[in-house]
Every structure is written in structure tokens, then in C-alpha cells.
């Protein structure tokens, strides 16, 4: 029964919903181990949902998605809980848990993920902090997350640049009236660019860049290696000289290419922040941002040209790459490829693909970070470029940046298309 297809399908779905941080097969078996152990009560949907969340969920970021997937399979999971629960006997539980269980009745009035849902803090009238929503979609019984009810984290979408997916699908717009009502602290300057405007904060970008390294021992550093020095002394019985740590040099040469086209105006600052964070990570101190307009242009010699921000200096790719070892060159491209205006331009797709293929031949890894939300990509240049060139393309989220940098290390990641 446990090896039920439903359970495994659910596992796969939950795993995929968490991108690269999802549970592995080991966690699937861990759940089976728990069942086999007969030590933990799994007598209701809530029990089962709590256990699956504790074992299979690996990040708070995906909790709502995880819960809605469980909720969609409520009846099937309750059936599993019914069968499994009968196997478990003699469980010693806390008073609180027993108290909770007294109120539990499986269908039809079973509370909706009550044990899992946070309570609202101020309004204690709703006993469990949840409400049964009967909306226009006939989603009778769907739980309203109190955080969502409060509008928390929803207003500005998943990426920080736009409405979230659900809002776009439903054609919702931001309720500016409600924003107007909000108190604006007197001393705040409302429109100053700060770290909070970035979909991924500088600190996290720096941490992410610090993972991109290929260190090799260089010359002796100034740092004394005490363990080795003392080991030598005890081996010889006398002190002769100090042993020094070797310098660790990062061999990778990071290039960041930023699109300067009109569609990037609202999000171009993040591209430059990507470079700043790389420099401040101390592992990529020589990284400069290089810019292009829509597609890098070729010069007469057939080499691709990129420029500095003001267009006063240029970088000829082959000229620079030829001085470096191919395995030590990694490239990150930051562009929406015209997605913000839903652009589908076959000429741009072809030229970009040609450029990417050139990079594939001359560098070790290339990734693309796209500031446009992922669900805007289909039907635009982004999808076209990805399909033709197969470049790993990632959204501008914390997870997307982590995956992009993992891609630059050559690790297999799930590209978001």
C-alpha cells in the first residue's frame, strides 16, 4: 500500500516544487521507515501532512506551495492515513496532542490543515487562524493562509519586479488605493534606491559568488601553519624553521555581460549589483561589467565587441579569451531578451544564439540570468533563445541566482524553462 503510486507521484511533485533543494529518494524511504517503525501516530490527514512537511520540505520558501499540493490530495492522503493509522498502536502522546485529536474527525468536517497553519495573532475569533474559503472558483474548503489574507509578501510578486503569477493569471492589478492608506514614516525617503529594492540582496549575492571558486595552491603565504610547524618540531626534536600556508588563488575568470537595451532600464541596477557583489566577495576582484545593446555586435574581424557602461572602452572577446585557459573562463549574461515587452524577434534570437554558441566553444560554462519573471518567458525571445541554444536560463530569485552560480561551476541544475 505504501508503495502506492499516489504517494510516489506526490513525492516527485513535492520534490520538483522545491527545485534543487528538494528531498532525495532517501527522504522518501525515510518516510517509509517511519511507517514501518510504528512509533508515530499517523491517523489523520493532518498527522500525515505534518510528517511529510517535516521530512520532505527543506525550505520555508516553498511551504505554501507544498501545503497546497497536499491540500489538493486531501482525500487520497486521508485514505493512506486511515490505513497506516491502524498499524500504529500504543503511542504515547502529549496531552496537547491528545487534546487536538479529540477534535479531529476525518471527513467531512475535518479541519483544514489546522495543525499546520499559523494562527492569526490579533484576531483570535478564528479558532485555528484559518478560514474556509468559498470563492468564485468553487474551491470549497480551500484554506486561506492568514499571511496571504494580510497581503504579506504578495503585493510585489515573487521576483520583486512584478505581480506574482497568480495575480497575473487572474488579471489582478495592484490596489494602489490600499497602498495610499499606508503610513509613510516621516523620516523615510520613499524612493531612494536601497538593497531592499533588489530581488536578491547584496549580502546573499556575495555569499553566492563565494561559492564560485576553483582554488589552486600558489606560493607560500605570510600565514604560519602552526600545526605543520609544531609537527615538524616534534618530529625533529628541535625548531628549524616555520612552515607556511600556501596561498589559495582563484583560477576562475568571471565575465558578466549586461544588456543595456531599453527594456532593461527598470532592472539594470541589479546587473551592476551582481558585479559589485562578485568583486566584494573577494574571489572575483577583477570582474568588470561589460555591456551590449540587445545582442553583442561583431567587428570586421569577426570578433564580438562589448563596451563599458559609457561606451568609451570596448572588449574584444577573442582577444581577451585567447590569453586565458578555456577551462578557467565562465560567463554570466544578464538580460531579459526583450521579454518585458513580449518581444519575439527571430533575427535577435538567431544572433543571440550564434553569440551563445561562440561562448560555448570558447569558455567552460555560460549561464543566463533573466530579470523577467519565468512565466513571462514562453512566447518571447527568452524561450526562443533557450530552445535553440539550450543555455541554462534562470529567474532573478535567490534560488535562481544559486542555480546560475552552480551552473557556472558545471553542476547540473534544473533550468527554469
Amino acid at each position: 500500500m505504501i508503495k502506492d503510486t499516489l504517494l510516489y507521484d506526490l513525492f516527485e511533485e513535492l520534490k520538483n516544487s522545491q527545485k534543487t533543494n528538494g528531498p532525495g529518494l532517501e527522504e522518501y524511504y525515510l518516510f517509509l521507515d517511519l511507517i514501518e517503525s510504528n512509533k508515530y501516530p499517523l491517523r489523520s490527514f493532518n498527522d500525515l501532512a505534518f510528517v511529510l512537511e517535516t521530512i520532505w520540505l527543506k525550505s520555508y520558501q516553498y511551504r505554501d506551495q507544498f501545503r497546497s499540493l497536499l491540500e489538493e490530495r486531501r482525500n487520497a492522503l486521508r485514505d493512506i492515513a486511515d490505513k497506516v493509522g491502524k498499524q500504529v498502536t500504543g503511542i504515547e502522546e502529549t496531552k496537547k496532542n491528545n487534546k487536538d485529536d479529540k477534535n479531529k474527525t476525518d471527513a467531512p468536517n475535518e479541519p483544514q490543515l489546522t495543525d499546520l497553519q499559523p494562527k492569526t495573532e490579533v484576531d483570535d475569533k478564528t479558532k485555528d487562524g484559518t478560514q474556509i474559503k468559498k470563492d468564485d472558483d468553487n474551491n470549497a474548503g480551500v484554506v486561506n493562509d492568514p499571511e496571504k489574507e494580510n497581503g504579506k509578501d504578495e503585493q510585489f510578486g515573487d521576483t520583486g519586479f512584478s505581480l506574482n503569477k497568480e495575480q497575473r493569471t487572474k488579471g489582478e492589478i495592484i490596489n494602489f488605493e490600499s497602498i495610499k492608506e499606508k503610513v509613510v514614516p516621516l523620516l523615510s525617503i520613499p524612493y531612494v534606491f536601497s538593497n531592499d529594492y533588489l530581488p536578491v540582496k547584496s549580502r546573499h549575492l556575495q555569499q553566492a559568488w563565494r561559492q564560485l571558486k576553483s582554488k589552486q595552491d600558489g606560493d607560500n603565504s605570510d600565514e604560519i601553519n602552526f600545526s605543520e610547524t609544531i609537527k615538524a618540531i616534534t618530529d625533529k626534536g628541535y625548531f628549524s624553521d616555520f612552515r607556511f600556508d600556501k596561498e589559495k588563488n582563484n583560477q576562475l575568470n568571471l565575465f558578466v555581460f549586461l544588456d543595456q537595451s531599453e527594456t532593461m532600464i527598470a532592472v539594470e541596477e541589479f546587473g551592476e549589483e551582481l558585479v559589485r557583489a562578485a568583486i566584494e566577495s573577494n574571489l572575483h576582484p577583477n570582474t568588470d561589467p561589460w555591456f551590449f545593446y540587445k545582442v553583442p555586435q561583431k567587428n570586421e574581424a569577426g570578433d564580438y565587441l562589448l563596451t563599458n557602461k559609457d561606451g568609451t572602452d570596448s572588449l574584444a572577446l577573442n582577444k581577451v579569451f585567447s590569453k586565458l585557459s578555456k577551462k578557467d573562463i565562465v560567463v554570466l549574461i544578464y538580460s531579459d531578451a526583450g521579454t518585458f515587452i513580449n518581444d519575439w524577434d527571430e533575427e535577435r534570437i538567431d544572433q543571440t544564439t550564434e553569440f551563445i554558441n561562440h561562448l560555448f566553444k570558447t569558455t567552460s560554462y555560460v549561464v543566463w540570468v533573466n530579470p523577467a519573471p519565468q512565466d513571462r518567458w514562453p512566447g518571447t525571445n527568452s524561450a526562443g533563445i533557450y530552445e535553440v541554444s539550450n543555455i541554462p536560463m534562470y529567474e532573478c530569485t535567490r534560488n535562481g541566482i544559486d542555480n546560475a552560480i552552480a551552473g557556472l561551476k558545471g553542476k547540473l541544475t534544473i533550468s527554469q524553462l
Binding site: L30, T54, Y60, K96, V183, H204, I230, D402
Partner: protein, 325 residues
């Protein structure tokens, strides 16, 4: 070996010399799962929600008065290295002895002795086991009926490689010390009892992402602040306070917390720690008067210094409703 599951019971906190701890029911269940599956439990939640105190409370419930002996606390710093949790070699002492006492025939080898049962002790010649190592060794103690508890506090403070460096040790609950020998010259491998592993509780403030491989080895629980029984915590900490006063104060606290959440621009909200301090101050100045005003006429909390810790939170209570031009 019988291993009792954690229940989140009320303890004699005064006797145990620990702060009262009232865990949300879901947190109790998560600890039980970690015990049953013998997996580390990774606990996240906003600062002040009781992540770090959990391990101490679990150890106290499982081991009662002697819990300090079975509770291993490893507070991570930005400079922490994984090796520090496993063992420490006193190189400077060895250097000193090598220079001064070599001729006196002192044994300069790093050695970890075994006890009469053949198990390694937690310290030896120039070597001392770290918190993880001590917990592993402890699992063999005669008469031990409950798991030792290990707290790895704020793992995200350390370097990004730190969790990866602990993967194998957490997985197998064993490690080898290549620099050391036992008294017979044999290798030193510290290993926890296979069927009685320590209970690991790991906390994180989510300042840095943890590697996927590390997450895979852990169970995960996020403490929702809204699940915390604030009334219960305040009453447990200050039993002499009137219930009506506590409920009124906690009600106000929740209201302010929501206000900061809705209108504040900072990244810090008031939490349990601030609530306890604030109630203590209010009670001190009110001389036990239950009708004391908890806020001023302008809506600012009384004795706000104990409650509001950043400028952004203070602004929430001082700003007038104005629109930007």
C-alpha cells in the same frame, strides 16, 4: 534501549536553573520525529521565537537534574570551523613541551586513552574532543537511558563550507582523528552507538543558504511566531502576575507587532524576548497595579525602550499619516 519521546512537559524550571520553555505542539511533534528517525532537526524561525532554547528544554526533560552532563552546546561563530566540534589539539602546549621537556622523556605523541570498557575518553595527551565528539562518546555511558542532546546554534553564521564539512560526521555519527593514536598505538575513531545516536538540534536564522546535501540529512521545522503561546510563556516566567494583566499586555503586544509588520519598513519585529523584558519593566513601575496604562495617549507603548529596538519600529509609533508629495 528505551528512549522516551520528548513531550514538551512543564518542568521544575527553578530547580533545573533554566528558563521556562513552552513549545508549540508542532515543534514537539517535530522533535519526536527527529528522535524516531534519528535525524538532525533543523529549526528555523524569526529571532526570539525560541529556537536555541529548545535543545536545552529537550535535554532537561529527557535527563532531568543531570541534563547539563548530557547536553552539548556548540555556538557557531563566523570563524568556527567544523573541526572544532570534533576535536581540538593543543599545539602550543605540545610546542612548549617539545622545546622544554623533550630531554626529560615526556611523551609528545597525541594520544587519546580508552576507559575500562574499551571506549575512548573525551580528553587525552594534547587532545580534547569537541562537543560532537563528546556527545558521540557519551552514548556509551553505562546506564544511559536517554539520548544525549547536541545543539548546533546558528549554523548559518559560519562560512558556507561549514555545513558541508560536517556531512559525513552527521551521516555516520563517527569520525577519525588522523593525528592521534590510542595508548596501544592504534587509530582513533570516535563513533556514536549505532542504535543510540545523539539528538541533533540545529538552528539557523537563514542568513545564508544551507547546501542541499546538508538539508537532505535533516528534518526541517519552521516555528511560526503565531503558534507560540505567549500568555503561557509570560505566566511561566512571571507566575505572580495576574492572568488578566498578562492577557491585556500580551494582547497589546500582538497588536503592536501586527502594526509594525503592516507599516514598518525595518526588518526586525518585536519578539518574545522584548515582551518578557517589557512586562518586567511595566510590572516593576506599576507596583503590581493591574490597571496600569500600557500605552500613552499618542498610542506609543509605555517604557518603549524595552520593546522597540530599532529606529524603524519607533517611527511606526511616531509618524503621522501623511502622503508623499
Amino acid at each position: 534501549m528505551k528512549n522516551t519521546l520528548y513531550k514538551g512537559e512543564e518542568l521544575n524550571y527553578k530547580k533545573l536553573e533554566i528558563d521556562p520553555y513552552i513549545p508549540p505542539p508542532n515543534l514537539v511533534k517535530a522533535v519526536q520525529l527527529a528522535q524516531i528517525l534519528q535525524r538532525p532537526l533543523l529549526v528555523k524561525g524569526e529571532p526570539g521565537c525560541g529556537k536555541s532554547k529548545l535543545a536545552e528544554a529537550v535535554a532537561a526533560e529527557l535527563h532531568k537534574e543531570n541534563f547539563r552532563k548530557y547536553f552539548f552546546e556548540w555556538n557557531i561563530k563566523s570563524t568556527s570551523k567544523a573541526l572544532e566540534g570534533l576535536y581540538y589539539i593543543n599545539n602550543l602546549q605540545r610546542l612548549s613541551d617539545a622545546n622544554i621537556e623533550k630531554e626529560a622523556g615526556r611523551d609528545l605523541q597525541i594520544k587519546l586513552p580508552r576507559n575500562s570498557k574499551g571506549q575512548f575518553k573525551s580528553s587525552g595527551n594534547y587532545i580534547e574532543l569537541g562537543q560532537l565528539g563528546k556527545a558521540f562518546v557519551m552514548t556509551y555511558e553505562e546506564g544511559l537511558t536517554q539520548q544525549p542532546v547536541v545543539l548546533i546554534d546558528e549554523i548559518d553564521k559560519a562560512d558556507i563550507d561549514f555545513p558541508n564539512d560536517l556531512l559525513l560526521e552527521m551521516d555516520r555519527m563517527e569520525f577519525t582523528i588522523p593525528e592521534a593514536k590510542d595508548l596501544e598505538g592504534g587509530p582513533v575513531t570516535i563513533k556514536a552507538k549505532t542504535d543510540f545516536k545523539p539528538l541533533f538540534i540545529i538552528t539557523s536564522n537563514d542568513e545564508k543558504p544551507l547546501p542541499a546535501a546538508f538539508l537532505r540529512r535533516c528534518l526541517f521545522h519552521y516555528i511560526d511566531f503565531s503558534e507560540i503561546d505567549l500568555n503561557g510563556i509570560v505566566k511561566a516566567r512571571y507566575p505572580s502576575l495576574e492572568t488578566t494583566f498578562v492577557e491585556k499586555a500580551v494582547g497589546k503586544f500582538k497588536e503592536w507587532r501586527k502594526k509594525i509588520e503592516d507599516t514598518g519598513t525595518g526588518n526586525k519585529n518585536i519578539s518574545t524576548g522584548e515582551l518578557l523584558d517589557w512586562i518586567k519593566v511595566v510590572n516593576f513601575y506599576s507596583n503590581g497595579d493591574n490597571d496600569v496604562a500600557l500605552e500613552g495617549a499618542d498610542g506609543r507603548p509605555s517604557y518603549e525602550q524595552a520593546l522597540l529596538k530599532d529606529v524603524e519600529s519607533i517611527k511606526v509609533f511616531t509618524a503621522k499619516k501623511t502622503q508623499p508629495a
